[in-house]
Point group: C2
Chain length 336, copies 2
Amino acid sequence: MVKLKDIADTLNVSVGTVSKALRHSHEISDEVTDLIIRTANEMGYIANSSARNLKTNKSYNIGVVFVDKSRAGLGHDYFSTMLNSIRDELSIHGYDFTFVSNVIGENRLSYLNHARYRRCDGVIIVTADFKDQEITELVESEIPVVTIDHVFNNRTAILSDNQEGLRTIVHHLHENGHSKIAFIHGEDTSVTEQRIASFYQACEELGIKVPKDYIKDALYHFPKQAGLKTRELLALKDRPTCIIYPDDYAYMGGLTEIEKHGLKIPEDISVVGYDGIFLSRILRPMLTTYVQNSVEIGKQAVLRLIEQIEKPRSFMAKQVKIGGNLQVGQTVKKIG
Amino acid sequence: MVKLKDIADTLNVSVGTVSKALRHSHEISDEVTDLIIRTANEMGYIANSSARNLKTNKSYNIGVVFVDKSRAGLGHDYFSTMLNSIRDELSIHGYDFTFVSNVIGENRLSYLNHARYRRCDGVIIVTADFKDQEITELVESEIPVVTIDHVFNNRTAILSDNQEGLRTIVHHLHENGHSKIAFIHGEDTSVTEQRIASFYQACEELGIKVPKDYIKDALYHFPKQAGLKTRELLALKDRPTCIIYPDDYAYMGGLTEIEKHGLKIPEDISVVGYDGIFLSRILRPMLTTYVQNSVEIGKQAVLRLIEQIEKPRSFMAKQVKIGGNLQVGQTVKKIG
DNA sequence: TTGTAGGCGTTATCAC
DNA sequence: GTGATAACGCCTACAA
């Protein structure tokens, strides 16, 4: 590995000069700068990030917390697209990222200490158990943190606009004449809370009555369970005319169940998903679903984090809501 | 950030002693070691990886090349599962990883130079354009490299056993009485080459004739195109009784097309996928498909790479083939 | 405009 | 068994 000193030696200048020239310092004359840069390239010089980091106390490395107990995370379009977006945006700004876990080798290391060990300039928490004490510790630490889809006190959060999402869906259904709307929602998280609240609110606004047994509790990304809940809904005396699923994957379970009952979508029953995964556009009938803008969410997370890192004085924590859009497919029938 | 010197000062010992004690050196007495470790914990000491890296020239950081031009990569179960597996296995051995791209900030950096800049101990190439000159450069460099699903000269490669995959599929079809088997394959890569070769070989072994127009060229992960090719196949005078798709996603396109023709799976036509994605198990009829063992592939990639890093002398490059297994679903009809 | 030298936090090689 | 001390490669005052 060629280093500054090697370049300095071959050119008979000092390391300091080389260092400055490579960083385009105005202290160094243009010709010397030119020569040094050319020579550095010829010699294949690559800076040593560790040495630089040690000196400057900046790693240009961001920690990403991505805990997916259920193994659903990375395999889920919502998160994989977001991660891609985060990676791309970081790269544009000269940052890399490392996954921050709480195990590394033999000795456990908390998320915070892992991030400290790698001298991360900041951390993005994409998915995690937000009740975990270690996550709280990380969020409250000296390291700049941005969370996604979860708000912590005085910290920046990027939020998919779930209120708008459910509101849009309910209004769309209402416009299509539906007033018997069932909602199978995901497990208890702040995201779910918001969706449920927004669902009720929109229904109230539109004068839609919601029988208690139209609301079903399920898990995200769990088709089988959504299937079971669908069965319960189909067994009701007063069947809903439409079912809103926790997400597009869960809908797949509902689909199977609906077909088992000999019903057709949307002729016999309408359905709506959430997320807008790749497959929702592929399958026929194309799924009506609310598409979360995961690319923008990832991008904003990066931009807000970098802002916080590079301009700590002027930075103010805030919540950024990112809206999505309704993908109107063929699974909602116009009735009435 | 508390450092060695702080601990040394509070205990009135030297930094050297602290350093050794924390690494359980036998030079230091048990009591002193104990005391130092306790104090370090109390003071919240976390090592500085950059300083350590600078000194030891080991980063415990692995570069991962994951280029997905089509954005399919991370969103694809095969790769996302593999990446998860890589992350987990690395973590067990005390390594982190960083994505290695060829852009970082304003100045382009080749993959190799990016890896060098981050002082990666090794690199795993998960997906990439293997014809790219920069990839070749990386593979031929001084950095230990393991590639996945592609073999380079004298380098370790972990390969999903595509020969076995196609062979298994064809034999399964043959056992179920099929002899008119169409194969829509993916774009031209070494993986595809192997699958095609293996397909022909298995057919030959079993005395199955393969008309030229039973073989169709398509792209992976591209349902629409697979749908078009399906249409061509269905239009043939002598229709195949079964279609093998490039992957499970592509099959979804075929599914739509088949339904459009008013045909039912598997009564009117049988189908087989490849990969064993989450959805293949969810949808009904459950898809018959060859499940690639992406978890094991990721794990082996890590183990072979670490072996190469930590025991360079005894290391020998080799190709490791990882077999999968046939998921027998309900999409292949027993005929004849 | 260029050079010098100290130090970032750690490890490792010597003395003692 | 413990303590100085010299690197590792880079940046940056400050001196020339």
